[in-house]
């Protein structure tokens, strides 16, 4: 499996990293999960947006 199938492994590893980092900051499990998922959403949005910009630049410029 090559190429895009690698992206399936992006979700769990990023969630693990963000959860562990938030666990170091806070003691409340609900707060930890909320912040981890929020940060995951922001990070994914930034990556998708950046990827889209790079794609558009390569396509039209």
């Amino acid at each position: 499996m090559k190429g895009i199938s690698y992206l399936f492994l992006y979700v769990p590893i990023v969630l693990v990293i963000l959860t562990v980092l938030e666990t170091c900051r806070s003691d409340d499990p609900v707060k930890i999960l909320k912040r981890a998922f929020a940060n995951f959403g922001v990070l994914t949005a930034v990556l998708i947006g950046g990827g889209a910009v790079v794609y558009l630049i390569n396509r039209f410029l």
Partner: protein
């Protein structure tokens, strides 16, 4: 690098760190230093040692499942220095991952014909566990320890301790004149 030399280097570094903690760190901070060393040995063990056992067990569960998944993806083979130096160093982040890497290190992980397609992401999972454990180790130094309970001070000889306050007397019950 010679595997025996690696063992000696890593164990020597741990021994030097333990000596520095025992000799230079203040009495109150020594417990935190022991937690720091335990956190290197097993992910989450430092938190358990410092009284945050729920957090420590959760961290141990997360880290061990990530590590096992990564090892499953790469076919339960450790990466050697010649395979990939970055992923190799990442295994040093925890005593358990280091131990497993040393035990499995006799068989090289890469390159192999039968490697699965997700081999590189699997190595990334293994490496990330080691690197995240460094964050947990630093976090043990930042934990707020529970203050010890104040010890009961015995009264000085010849001093009569004050009697505990008596509860207020109940109001008198008025009898019925009839």
């Amino acid at each position: 690098m010679n595997p025996r030399m690696e063992w000696k280097l890593v164990l020597g570094a741990v021994a030097v760190l333990a000596f520095v903690i025992a000799a230079l760190v203040k009495e109150g901070e020594r417990r935190r230093g022991v937690g720091f060393l335990l956190a290197w040995l097993i992910p989450g063990a430092g938190h358990v040692f410092l009284g945050r056992w729920k957090k420590g067990l959760c961290l141990l569960l997360i880290m061990s499942s990530t590590y096992l998944f990564g090892m499953y993806v790469v076919g339960f083979r450790a990466v050697s220095f010649e395979d990939n130096p970055f992923y190799y160093v990442g295994q040093y982040g925890s005593g358990v991952t280091f131990l497993v890497a040393q035990i499995l290190g006799v068989e090289k992980a890469y390159p192999r014909q039968e490697n699965p397609g997700w081999f590189d992401p699997g190595l990334l999972y293994v490496c990330v566990v080691g690197l995240l454990n460094l964050v947990l180790m630093i976090n043990t130094l930042d934990l707020k320890l529970a203050a010890p309970a104040p010890a009961a001070v015995p009264p000085a000889p010849g001093v009569i301790p004050p009697e505990p306050a008596k509860p207020p007397a109940p109001p008198p019950v008025q009898e019925n004149p009839a």
